[in-house]
């Protein structure tokens, strides 16, 4: 069954979109990431104009993170105080990111910037996570605890910077500065790449601040919910590229998929959780690397510049 998308201006198979968004929703529920970093490239691959894909995925991500936020709120696995710090930092980063985005677009190298960022970011984050997860697994094999136990009073130097705050739900006593800085970086990257940034935020909070994964996922979803709601509105107002029909289809598949993903997440132990997320991120990075390093079979491409649409 095909349905015509009024903004993207092409017909698309309803079942395919539902299947696709369902699968991405599953991953999103499983890992507490928005799933935008998977869904946006997939939609572009289906010939949906990149601007429409980015803007519409923002709406879908807002919807699926809403479900997650409510679920984690009920389970009391969401640190609203930490979320507040992340959101305010994220807003600053988003504004900076949009400015950078427009500057690169004027220079005509936006596509290269996006591809390069995907490759470097995903390879580095994925690689670090994979290394860490494998090391932890080896330690378990050897009969040692998964990682060295944290002793009281021992913490990385950045947590001891000024403006220390207690985040009771996360079991965290830490300076606001590094948290806000992480949020600025994520807001920046999110705006440039058109993704929520959950895939950086989740490992960032786990590795830099040693916050329990259960709380990290809920809090990350909260930050994504706020930024993606804002992003959807901004896209609708500034470039009219939100496709409401496509958004509805993506939401339908996404929220259902996320439910099953969330259920699966509870039966998954922390170490295999890390390993899987690392592999997923690495494979997306690899996919972009192939595009960058292999000789293209068709070196030419035709685009309609966004200003001319």
């Amino acid at each position: 069954m095909q349905i015509y998308l009024p903004i993207a201006e092409l017909p698309i198979s309803v079942l395919m979109v539902l299947g696709l968004s369902g699968a991405v929703g599953f991953i999103s529920g499983l890992f507490g990431v928005g799933g935008g970093f998977l869904l946006t490239p997939l939609l572009i691959f289906l010939d949906i104009p990149p601007a429409v894909a980015v803007a519409t995925v923002a709406a879908q991500v807002a919807g699926s993170s809403m479900t997650g936020v409510l679920t984690y709120l009920r389970r009391r696995a969401l640190d609203l105080k930490l979320g507040g710090v992340l959101v305010s930092g994220g807003i600053v980063g988003t504004v900076l990111g949009v400015l950078f985005f427009n500057a690169m677009r004027r220079l005509g190298q936006l596509e290269l910037v996006i591809t390069l960022s995907y490759v470097t970011l995903f390879s580095i984050i994925g690689g670090l996570m994979l290394y860490d997860a494998l090391r932890a697994m080896l330690r378990v094999r050897a009969g040692k605890p998964a990682r060295r136990r944290r002793r009281g009073g021992m913490h990385p130097w950045w947590m001891g910077l000024p403006f220390r705050q207690r985040f009771p739900r996360s079991g965290l006593y830490c300076s606001v500065i590094p948290i806000a800085l992480l949020a600025v970086v994520i807001g920046f990257i999110g705006a440039v790449l058109g993704v929520g940034g959950g895939f950086i935020l989740v490992p960032g909070l786990i590795y830099f601040f040693r916050i329990p994964p259960a709380v990290v996922v809920g809090t990350s979803l909260f930050q994504i919910l706020v930024t993606m709601t804002g992003a959807t509105l901004l896209h609708a107002v500034t470039n009219q590229s939100v496709d409401i029909i496509l958004a509805t289809l993506l939401l339908l598949g996404g929220v259902i998929g996320a439910q099953f993903g969330g259920r699966a997440a509870r039966n998954l132990n922390v170490e295999s959780f890390r390993l899987l997320l690392a592999l997923l991120i690495l494979s997306v990075g690899l996919r972009f690397a192939i595009e960058l390093f292999l000789a293209p079979s068709e070196p030419f491409s035709v685009v309609v510049p966004e200003s001319a649409r």
């Binding site: 349905i3 879908q60 409510l70 409401i244 029909i245 000789a295 030419f300 035709v302």
Partner: protein, 258 residues
């Protein structure tokens, strides 16, 4: 008001008969429809252009058969053609060429292969065929090697997308004077106005021309949603966000486990 375009089309059909009175042949062409309406189940459409060659009774019959070339041009946009080149270990878009005011849809249909109808020089001069149709437009005019490369790449890629096509036997003669040509408009073809040029040839010489047109528009829900997005962007955005949040909330209620 709806009848007006039809009336205009009729007038256009009648006009050349008077102008070309001195010629031996005149051409009449008409579309099966002047409008394609995009609805929610739209997956592309097909129109037909019909035409008739009218011969002046006094003229001597020609040795060469009649040939028809139909050229359909869609709405014009700026197109950028980019070429990837190797820079160190990576491939990046290095060179780009602008094709301003370039049709996003181009269909050439002929009654037999253009190469059999006329010499390549005539085809170029008369702008016949996919590579020649836009010869006067900016970016297509000069014949330097690089422009030719970019122009050929543009046509090749657009053909791959189904937006450019050449049907070398797309025009069928139903009798010695009556012909028809189907025009396939894929769903990805943009909305806007399309011109249809019909040219009659014999022995590589153009004898008569006729132009008609059609438009592709969104109707019903499609049209309301698209214009809503442009006319009330805040409302549209707000509705989308609320829809998203509602879906999210709904799922957490429906799938609630505790």
């Amino acid at each position: 008001m709806r009848r007006l375009p039809h009336l205009a089309a009729l007038l256009l059909l009648l006009l050349p008969a008077g102008i070309a009175a001195g010629r031996a042949e005149t051409l009449i062409a008409a579309m099966s429809s002047h409008q394609i309406q995009i609805t929610s189940n739209y997956t592309g459409s097909q129109l037909t252009v019909f035409g008739q060659v009218e011969r002046d009774g006094r003229s001597v019959s020609r040795g060469d058969p009649y040939d028809i070339v139909v050229t359909v041009r869609g709405p014009r946009r700026m197109l950028l053609v980019r070429q990837k080149e190797r820079l160190g270990p990576i491939w990046i878009n290095a060179t780009q060429r602008r094709f301003p005011e370039n049709p996003v849809f181009l269909l050439v249909a002929s009654s037999r292969p253009i190469a059999e109808m006329m010499s390549p020089e005539t085809a170029r001069r008369d702008r016949v065929g996919l590579l020649n149709a836009e010869r006067t437009s900016q970016g297509w005019y000069d014949d330097s090697a690089s422009t030719t490369l970019f122009r050929e790449s543009l046509v090749r890629i657009m053909q791959g997308k189904g937006l450019y096509a050449y049907e070398e036997r797309g025009v069928t003669f139903l009798s010695s004077a009556l012909f028809s040509a189907p025009i396939d408009v894929p769903a990805t073809a943009p909305t806007g106005s399309y011109t249809v040029d019909v040219v009659l040839y014999a022995g590589g010489v153009p004898l008569a021309r006729q132009q008609t047109n059609f438009e592709v528009i969104k109707t019903g829900t499609e049209q309301r949603l698209a214009s809503g997005a442009y006319d009330w962007p805040w409302l549209y955005g707000l509705v989308t966000v609320l829809l998203a949040l509602f879906f999210g909330w709904g799922a957490s209620v429906v799938f609630r486990r505790d």
